[in-house]
C-alpha cells in the first residue's frame, strides 16, 4: 500500500511586517502518523498551526491539508480536521451532553448522527453518571479526554492538538496518550504540540522549530542518534542552545 501524505507543506511562510514568524517550512505528514511539532515558546509553532488549520493566510509557500489548499480551500480544511487546545476546548457552562450536541451541530452532523455519537461517546468514556453536569465542574483530565473525543466527532482525517496535556496528572496524561495511539492505530493522523519531552518520544516523528525554521525532523530514535544524546529533552536543549 502506498503511504499517503495528509499534510504536505512546501516553503510555508508567514511574515508580519518585517518579522518572519514562520520561515519557509517544508515537511510531510503521513496518514495514521503521530507527528510531534515541537519548539520553544515564540519559535512559530502556533502561527504555523494556524495556517495549517485554515484560520490564518500564509504570506508565502504552499500547503495541502487533508487534500485541500491552505490558500483557497480553508473552509474545506476546517470540515476535515479536528482541533483542540489546552486553552480552549469545551464550553464550561454547557453540560457534557450539550457540548457534544453543540459541536456535532457545528460539524454539520445530522440529528441522528449526533444522537448516536453522543450515546456512544458517553458510554466509551464512562461519563454516564455525569452526562448532565456542567463541563466546568469536571476535573481537567476528564475535560481534556472529552475535548479530544469531541474534536473527533466528525471522524476527521487529521486532529491538531495544541498542548493537550499541560497541567494534567501523570496517570490521566498517559490515558490521554493511549487515546491518541488508538486513534492513530485506526488511521487518524495526529499533529500534536507539547512541552513534555517524554511525550515527544511517543510520537512517530518529531519536528523541532527554532526561530521560524524547522531545524530537525526525524524519528525520536534517529534524532537522539544524530545529536548523540539519550533523551529528547537533550535533543531539544542542544538545538536551542546551538542557535543562541
Amino acid at each position: 500500500m502506498k503511504e499517503e501524505n495528509v499534510i504536505i507543506s512546501k516553503g510555508l511562510t508567514k511574515r508580519f511586517g518585517g518579522f518572519t514568524a514562520v520561515d519557509a517550512i517544508t515537511f510531510e505528514v503521513k496518514k495514521g502518523e503521530i507527528f510531534g511539532f515541537l519548539g520553544a515558546n515564540g519559535a512559530g509553532k502556533t502561527t504555523a498551526m494556524k495556517m495549517l488549520i485554515g484560520i490564518s493566510n500564509p504570506t508565502g509557500g504552499e500547503a495541502m491539508v487533508a487534500g485541500f489548499d491552505v490558500h483557497t480551500q480553508q473552509d474545506a480544511i476546517k470540515k476535515n480536521i479536528g482541533y483542540m487546545s489546552q486553552k480552549f476546548a469545551l464550553y464550561d457552562d454547557l453540560t457534557v451532553a450539550e457540548n457534544i450536541t453543540f459541536y456535532g451541530g457545528i460539524y454539520g452532523l445530522s440529528r441522528k448522527q449526533i444522537r448516536e455519537k453522543r450515546t456512544k461517546l458517553i458510554e466509551t468514556l464512562g461519563l454516564g453518571e455525569i452526562a448532565h453536569q456542567l463541563v466546568g465542574s469536571l476535573p481537567l483530565g476528564w475535560k481534556q479526554k472529552l475535548a479530544f473525543s469531541v474534536a473527533m466527532l466528525h471522524d476527521p482525517q487529521i486532529v491538531f492538538l495544541d498542548e493537550p496535556t499541560g497541567g494534567v496528572d501523570p496517570i490521566t496524561r498517559r490515558q490521554f496518550w493511549e487515546m491518541i495511539y488508538k486513534a492513530a492505530d485506526e488511521g487518524t493522523t495526529i499533529f500534536v504540540t507539547t512541552h513534555y519531552m517524554d511525550e515527544a518520544e511517543y510520537c512517530h516523528r518529531v519536528s523541532i522549530m527554532v526561530a521560524g525554521k524547522i531545524e530537525a525532523l526525524d524519528t525520536p530514535k534517529k534524532l537522539k542518534e544524530q545529536f548523540e544524546v539519550s533523551s529528547m529533552n537533550d535533543v531539544f536543549l542542544r538545538l536551542a542552545r546551538n542557535i543562541e
Binding site: A40, H195, Y202, S231
Partner: protein, 301 residues
C-alpha cells in the same frame, strides 16, 4: 523564617480543596509542591499569602501568623501567581517601578537581588508587558515578586506552558536566589522539576501523599520496575494490560514502565508472552523508578 503549615483545610461550597494538610519548610529551603491541576496547590498558596482564610488549621510564614499578622506577611513575602497578573498596559520598567514604590523601595535599592533575572529583559524595558513572550513575562513577574527583598518567595506553577529551555534557565535562577537566603515554595505539575528541589511534597486531590527529599522518595518505591520495548507501542500497551500478572503499565518515553504483581518475576516468561502476541523487537530490562512512577503508584491507592 520558613513556613509552618498545621492541619489546614479549605472547602469551596461542597468541594474540599485542601484536606488537613501539614508540612514545614525550613529557612533557606527550596521546597516543591508537586501535583496536577486541581490538587489544591493554588488554594494553599493563597492561604499562605493571606489572600484567603482557611476553614481550619493554622499557618505561619516568616514567623508570622497568616491571619493575625497578615500585614507583616504581605511585606515579607513575594508571590508570583500562576496566571500572569501584571499590568499589561505598563512597560517592563513601569511595572517594576510600580511594585517597588508600593513596597516603599526602589529598583536601585534591591537591584542586586533582581539583577540576574532582570538583565535578561532589560533591553526591552520600554516594551509593554502585554506584548512580551511567555518566557519574558515569567522573568518580569519574578522580578516584581523580588523587588522588595522578600524573606519567603511563593511561585505558583512558574513554568507551566514554558518550553524546556526556558524551564531549565528558570530553575537555574531559583538555585541562585536560594543562595541569597530566600526560602522558596514552588509548585509545578512537571515531575522532572521535582528532582531539583531540596524536599518535595507530592499532593493530589487536596491531600499530601508523601514528603521527603526527591532521592529518598524514589528509594521508597516498593517494586522492581522494568523498561519494556516493542516496535508497536499501542500493541505493546494493550498486550501488557491484558497480562494477568501486571501490576502497573505506563508509557514512559520510548519504553513502557512495567511492574509485576509477583515477587519472583521472570522476564523470559513475559517476553515469550509478548512475542506470542506478534510484537517485534521485544526487550525487557530492569530500570530505576523516577518521581513520576512514585506519584502514580501512590495515587493509585
Amino acid at each position: 523564617m520558613g513556613i509552618l503549615v498545621e492541619n489546614i483545610s479549605k472547602s469551596y461550597k461542597n468541594v474540599a480543596a485542601v484536606k488537613d494538610i501539614s508540612f514545614e519548610v525550613k529557612p533557606g529551603e527550596l521546597y516543591g509542591l508537586i501535583g496536577p491541576d486541581g490538587a489544591g496547590k493554588t488554594t494553599l498558596f493563597r492561604i499562605l499569602t493571606t489572600l484567603l482564610v482557611a476553614d481550619k488549621g493554622q499557618a505561619k510564614v516568616a514567623g508570622y501568623d497568616v491571619v493575625q499578622d497578615y500585614k507583616n506577611i504581605r511585606h515579607s513575602v513575594g508571590y508570583m501567581p500562576g496566571r500572569f497578573s501584571l499590568y499589561q498596559d505598563l512597560t517592563i520598567e513601569e511595572n517594576l517601578n510600580f511594585f517597588a514604590t508600593i513596597f516603599g523601595t526602589s529598583i536601585e535599592e534591591n537591584y542586586d537581588l533582581i539583577k540576574d533575572v532582570y538583565e535578561q529583559i532589560e533591553p526591552f524595558k520600554n516594551r509593554r508587558a502585554g506584548k512580551l513572550s511567555g518566557g519574558m513575562k515569567q522573568k518580569l513577574a519574578l522580578s516584581c515578586a523580588l523587588i522588595h527583598k522578600p524573606k519567603v518567595l511563593f511561585l505558583d506553577e512558574p513554568t507551566t506552558g514554558v518550553d524546556p529551555v526556558s524551564r531549565k534557565e528558570f530553575w537555574e535562577m531559583l538555585k541562585r536566589l536560594q543562595q541569597k537566603d530566600i526560602t522558596i515554595l514552588v509548585s509545578t505539575p512537571y515531575m522532572d522539576e521535582a528532582a531539583l528541589c531540596d524536599r518535595i511534597a507530592l499532593i493530589q486531590e487536596g491531600k499530601i501523599l508523601e514528603i521527603d527529599s526527591p532521592e529518598a522518595i524514589v528509594k521508597k518505591f516498593p517494586k522492581k520496575i522494568y523498561d519494556i520495548y516493542a516496535s508497536n507501542m499501542y500493541g505493546l500497551l494493550t498486550a501488557l494490560k491484558d497480562f494477568e500478572h501486571a501490576h502497573s503499565v505506563f508509557p514512559f518515553g520510548e519504553f513502557v514502565h512495567y511492574t509485576d504483581k509477583r515477587e519472583g518475576f521472570d522476564s523470559n516468561e513475559l517476553k515469550i508472552y509478548l512475542e506470542n502476541k506478534n510484537l517485534q523487537d521485544v526487550s525487557i530490562s530492569l530500570t530505576e523508578p523516577d518521581i513520576e512512577d512514585v506519584f502514580m503508584e501512590l495515587s493509585r491507592k
